[in-house]
Symmetry: C2
Subunit: 185 residues, 2 copies
């Protein structure tokens, strides 16, 4: 029987190593070193570093992403932004997410995993939010949820991850208002 505490230590080490050096530079030796276990313990559980990461991403995907239901489009958008900003400002996540996204451009398996864990989830949330807004009459029939998602999280991702700028007070409020205004075509 594989020891649970060892498994957890490895999982944690993968996460930290991924944030510290990125997928490309990550090594199984480094993971074992960081986790304080032997390489044997790692190879007994996973075949390669790819499987390690796919397992990690799948765990994130499994936990799901909650869709807001505040009763207004602005409220929903603002809630989505709050959640996204929280994740993208997390020091570990803000390193791991863009790193894996770049890796996904070269590796179909990572691409598929990331899509299921993040993009599909977000598109699902956007679909719920848009559908509710349409039902309330806040948005016209046939509004495209994907385009809505672009307008909502695109600017935030750009600022936090690409430019790596700060998040001024009131920025999320303004952005939510801008997105709502942009959506009501």
């Amino acid at each position: 029987m594989l020891r649970e505490d060892v498994t957890d230590a490895i999982r944690g080490a993968v996460f930290e190593e991924l944030a510290a050096v990125g997928f490309a530079r990550m090594s199984i030796e480094g993971i074992a070193r960081r986790a304080g276990v032997g390489k044997t313990a790692v190879y007994r559980r996973w075949k390669s570093k790819l499987h390690l990461v796919l397992d990690l991403v799948a765990a994130v995907a499994a936990q799901g992403m909650p869709a807001p239901a505040t009763g207004s489009l602005y409220g929903d958008v603002r809630a989505v932004l709050e959640l996204a900003a929280y994740a993208l400002r997390h020091p570990v996540a803000s390193q791991v997410i863009p790193d894996l996204l770049v890796e996904a451009a070269r590796n179909p398996e990572i691409s598929e995993a990331i899509k299921a864990a993040l993009l599909d989830q977000q598109q699902g949330v956007a679909a719920v939010v848009v559908r509710a807004a349409v039902a309330r009459g806040e948005l016209p029939e046939g509004s495209d949820p994907d385009r809505a998602l672009d307008l909502i999280v695109g600017p935030l991702y750009w600022r936090l991850v690409v430019v790596r700028g700060d998040l001024p007070k009131g920025y999320l409020d303004d952005l939510a208002a801008s997105a709502v205004r942009a959506l009501k075509a």
Copy 2:
């Protein structure tokens, strides 16, 4: 005297190698192999792969980025989006840019170079566009060019680079219109 054609071959190989495997996996041996030159020729010109890439990025920075002047805010925004979409759809650039952006999060020298080559350029363009729009009375005094840039290129970058989705006909038009609408607070 160093041979110009060899220098060019190396520069080209760096670009291709960067797109193919990314900065982290890139090796000087691989570059020399791809360029069809000896390692000696590379080391005679640059100290390390970091210097190779910094040199490449500086070359991009030096060529500058043109600011549009179409006479309307919508026209200017649309022109910026056209240029950005062209770059982000380029198969090599669309691999290299996000890769270096991720690398920049871990390497201050790359960060500085990328900032000068891309971000500062874009912020300069945004500043010109916003200033012109304010002068025309299309935007209120004190509009923030950085926020404008977030709203203009954020959604496009998200769609093309993060989601790696397609670009439907009319998307740029809609996005430009949305951005203009969002900016007029």
